[in-house]
Amino acid sequence: MHIIVRHPLSETTIPCISRLIHAADWQEREIEDLFGLHFEGHPRLGDFVLHEEWPEGVNPMRTSFDSTRVYPHRESEPAWGPQTIVEAAGAFMMPIGPVYSDHAESAHFLLETLGEDVLRTIPRFFYKYRGLEKIAEGKSVDQVLLLAERFSGTSAFAHSLAFCQAVEGTIGAEIPKRAQALRVFLAELERLRHHVAAITGICQSTALAVATSQASILEEKILRLTCRYLGHRYLFGLNIPGGLSLDLTDDTCKGISEAGWDVLEKLKKLQGMLRFTSSFLDRLEEVGMVSKDKAVSYGLVGPVARASGVLRDLRVVQPYAYYGDHLKFYVPHEEEGDGYARLRVLFSEAEQSINLMHQVSASLPAGPVKTRLDPAPGSCLGWVESPGGATFHWVRLGEAGRVLRYRVMTSSFVNWHGFHLAAEDFAFQDFPIIMATFALSNAECDR
């Protein structure tokens, strides 16, 4: 469903819908900061994307905004204070970040507590805001492709695929079948690596050292495999509008999927051992619960939502590339919505990815791997089920293949919104574990 609202530039107030549709909460806050539109009825506007030192009244996504120069901060030292929600004697907040832990991404959390249990998590993001959507404006499709690929390196292929599909949709191009199949192959390879990295993160957060090492060894194996055959460890530089920049021989594909079976076998052994380690399960079971109702109302996506019983996967619901009738797979899901359910979903999806890679390599269509495209004006939406969940890239092209407007809706943005549901009424030590089970990316959320 595609709703277009026309609004005169002079009026800056729009009625808010997030009181009814809770998933719109953060989107409205983002629009308010970036576009300067005020959503009437939203109780929490302000200080979301642009932090307190940003000058007043300057909104980056306005077309009149000059994105190439640096804007001076406010003169006086602005005071930012979080809104305290817990009203109890002796309540206080534990600050985490933005610089914390070993190699965690920069983000700020305030945990409101009375001393033992944490009652409420107040996250603060956009420390990594690079203004992706604004600096893309005016650039050529080739340059914006690089931006789309590199703003979140761990899902680079998925984002570049969504962008390419948006551009290809604008032009209305027909992509060769071999390219479609290889795109699926590589997307699943990326999903496999992402999920193994997430499993490593979960084992690391519970300090199960040998399991962390085992998962980490598998992840490095996949990275080396990827680099050996495709040139780059994280699949950079492969998608181009019209297909792929590199062709793989059938034997190479078979070799990769054979190696994939090997990884799957080790992964299953790891899962088998983890299932019977009670100290590990104690930290995950019934910790970080997200109920199905809340997952639906917040519009959560990806493995996080599927672990809470929300069965939505763009590969099935809105097939793209080679998905659809050619490939048979099932979408793993669980009902409990706790950390262990999310871990099980990660393992199952990894298995399905290897299964899909095998199916593609067994029936790879012949033909060219790219076609020539001539960019034309227009706009289109491209979507992909990235390793983290549903991802949408919308692009409007102008003359000579210049990008006029660019919008990215990532899975991490949506899921970080729902993070506080899991991070309430828990013990402080469980916080890194809950975060690890969500396996979200701040770079993806902040853009």
């Binding site: 009814l20 109780p43 009203e87 002796g90 309540a91 206080f92 610089v99 009375l114 001393g115 033992e116």
Partner: protein
């Protein structure tokens, strides 16, 4: 000695002068006058009681006969002089403190009446301790009760102060009545009411138990023992700061004085069961006291609960002593008594120090809630230093006084292996474990008290604008801090004095069993043979024998040949070693790092723009683990636990509120009150309102009286 008697008269005369000056001088001039006169009085008292304490000359004097039955007399023996000395030690700095502290009441309450009550209270306390017969004792006791009520209720503008004061008065009267009945039981058998004739009576078993229970629980009200101490956590915080110091430091001791007089002096306990009762109630008080002190955020209420804890430790020590003596182990009993008396002296000093510190903070910051303080160490450095000394002392950490007395108490518990009965030994083991738990919780409590109030960031405007008080308020705290330090590093000079105090009850000196005379024994005598002395000479036990007076600097309890040393320690040598290590450490660090540049930066906060005070630990948060662990004991009642949202999505507020009802109130007082109410309600049915029924009651009563008359 006549001279000492005259000194006591001088004390009363100075108090009288103080009363006159209080009435004559205007309000503004009263605090300094009070400080001056009261200091004079306390110094005289110290001199006078010191003479009795250190020289073994007791004073007996009968004053005058009121009626043939009642003869008023004075008796000042070593026990009274010990208590008098402690009273003087505490009253002296508190009086000086009052000069600056009372200024905050100028204009709102009458300072004349404060000074009046103060001097009269002092006089009444001295009278209690020098009284030689039951009548004068109780007159002085009542005077003290009423005057302390008047001082507790000094800020009578606040209704809760009046309620707390009234509760204190009511319970105190109940206790006084019980103690009076105990005295009367004894007086009935002895025939006279002076203390001399009450000594060594022969009473039957049940009468002895009756006297014991009545006096123990009766004076236990004043001493703050479970289950009759509900008034304490309410009354101490309600009083003005300097009066709280007196309540905790001096008046609680009077309860112990009463218990000692009856159960150790007049009618020594012979039954092991009685000693065990004392021991058990002492341990319970200690545990419950510290359990409620640790999660408490109000500084003065926390100190009040802590007073209950310390009184419990003293009582437990006394109980152990009673058990040892009644089992025939006099020396061990002496050790236990010495530990208890030492702890009492220590408690008076460091509790007074802490209360003065709390009063200072209250007057500078304007509140007692530790959640609203923080960072005061930068604004009030001297107060912080002295409060820290008090906190270290009460947490029983060397080199301060609390360490010595609590260590001695626990060590004396461990000597229960000398007893024969298994049940008694188990009881000792349990109580020892209870006291150890108390000690651990006490450290938590006072780490919280010091850290949350003085360290960290200021959590309120008032805490940010605080400043050090005038010297008249910091010098008294310094004096008390010095007392704490001296009593901590020179225990071997204090123990002989306490031993003299304790000998009349124990009938044997425990001094040789506690402080071996390394300085005076030379080559050795038959108790301390040459081999023993030379072995410890090599360890350094005779260091300082040429220059320092006294018996020695080592506290040691010797055992048999198989186990030659049961326990030993020397805070005096420890402090020397500590100082040497500290100084040498500083010198080494300075020398090694003289070429290094030192940079000072703010604390690392994770890169936030500004660390707000709300992002630092509060006192509630610090003590929450204790609340959670002891949830089953504390049984908090949830008053509110709700979440408010806007449109069921935007979380607006999470409200949590819990209240706790004190354990003793819940299990003991409330049932009694409810039972009393039930009884009254049942009896109330007699009030039918009809005149005929009342006439019938009159007839019934007449018939019953006639029947009794006929049968008797």
């Amino acid at each position: 000695m006549m001279e000492t008697g005259i000194l006591f008269v001088v004390v009363f005369l100075i108090c009288g002068l103080g009363v006159i000056l209080a009435a004559v001088l205007p309000d503004r001039k009263n605090p300094p006058a009070l400080a001056f006169v009261a200091s004079l009085a306390t110094l005289t008292l110290l001199w006078a009681s010191g003479r009795v304490l250190f020289s073994d000359h007791a004073i007996f004097n009968s004053l005058w006969r009121v009626t043939p039955l009642i003869r008023l007399s004075i008796e000042i023996d070593r026990v009274s002089s010990f208590f008098l000395f402690i009273t003087g030690l505490v009253f002296f700095p508190v009086s000086i403190f009052s000069a600056g502290y009372l200024k905050k009441y100028l204009g709102s309450y009458s300072l004349k009446s404060f000074a009046l009550f103060y001097h009269l209270l002092f006089a009444s306390i001295v009278l209690i301790l020098i009284a030689g017969d039951v009548f004068s004792f109780f007159i002085a006791w009542e005077a003290m009760s009423i005057l302390s009520y008047l001082l507790v209720n000094y800020e009578h503008g606040h209704e809760e102060n009046t309620r707390s004061g009234f509760l204190m008065l009511a319970m105190s009267e109940a206790g006084t009545l019980a103690a009076l009945v105990a005295f009367l039981i004894m007086a009935k058998t002895s025939g006279g009411i002076d203390f001399g004739s009450l000594r060594s009576l022969s009473l039957g078993q049940s009468a002895r138990w009756g006297v014991f229970l009545l006096s123990f629980l009766g004076f236990g009200v004043k001493a703050g023992l479970v289950p009759v101490n509900s008034w304490l956590p309410r009354a101490h915080p309600a009083a003005p700061g300097n009066v709280s110091a007196l309540l905790s430091g001096v008046i609680l001791n009077l309860g112990i004085y009463g218990i000692i007089r009856i159960n150790a002096d007049f009618l020594p306990l012979k039954d092991v069961g009685q000693g065990l009762t004392v021991l058990a109630i002492g341990t319970l008080s200690a545990l419950i006291g510290i359990l409620y002190a640790t999660p408490e955020n109000d500084m003065k209420r926390m100190l009040a609960h802590s007073s209950i804890e310390n009184m419990g430790i003293i009582t437990a020590g006394l109980g152990a002593g009673f058990v040892f003596i009644s089992s025939g182990h006099s020396v061990l009993g002496g050790i236990a008594f010495i530990a208890a008396f030492y702890h009492m002296a220590n408690h008076s000093l460091y509790k007074a120090l802490l209360f003065l510190g709390a009063a200072t903070v209250d007057s500078r910051v304007g509140g007692r809630d530790m959640d609203r303080m923080g960072g005061l160490i930068r604004k009030m450095p001297w107060t912080s230093l002295f409060y820290l000394i008090g906190a270290l002392s009460i947490a029983a950490l060397p080199p301060f006084n609390g360490f010595v007395s609590e260590w001695l108490t626990l060590q004396s518990f461990l000597q229960c292996s000398a007893l024969t009965s298994k049940g008694v030994k188990i009881a000792f083991a349990l109580c020892g474990a209870g006291l150890a738990l108390t000690a651990g919780l006490a450290v938590t409590c006072f780490v919280k008290a010091f850290a949350m109030s003085f360290l960290g960031m200021a959590r309120s405007e008032a805490a940010q604008n605080a400043s050090d008080p005038p010297h008249s308020m910091t010098i008294p705290m310094g004096i008390l801090g010095i007392y704490c330090f001296l009593l901590g590093i020179l225990p071997t000079y204090v123990i002989p004095q306490i031993d003299h105090v304790v000998v009349p009850f124990v009938h044997e000196s425990a001094l040789d069993a506690l402080v071996p005379p390394f300085f005076t024994v030379g080559e050795g005598n038959e108790r301390f043979p040459k081999a023993f002395v030379s072995e410890f000479h090599d360890l350094g036990a005779q260091v300082g024998s040429d220059t320092l007076p006294g018996r020695g600097l080592v506290i040691m309890h010797r055992g048999s040949t198989r186990n030659p040393v049961i326990f030993a320690m020397s805070p005096s040598y420890t402090i020397i070693v500590l100082v040497l290590l500290l100084v040498s450490g500083i010198v080494v660090v300075r020398v090694l790092t003289r070429k290094r540049a030192l940079a000072r930066r703010a604390a690392w906060d994770g890169g936030v723009r500004r660390l707000a005070p709300t992002m630092t630990y509060t006192a509630t948060g610090f003590s929450n683990p204790v609340r959670v662990i002891f949830n089953a004991v504390l049984r908090p009642v949830t008053i509110q636990d709700s979440k408010e949202t806007i449109a069921q999505h935007f979380l607006n507020a999470i409200k949590k509120d819990k209240r706790e009802i004190h354990l003793v109130d819940r299990l003991f007082i409330r049932p009694i009150i409810d039972g009393g109410r039930l009884l009254a309600a049942w009896l109330g049915r007699m009030h039918s309102g009809r005149v005929n029924t009342y006439a019938a009651y009159v007839l019934l009563a007449l018939m019953i009286v006639l029947m009794i008359q006929m049968l008797a």
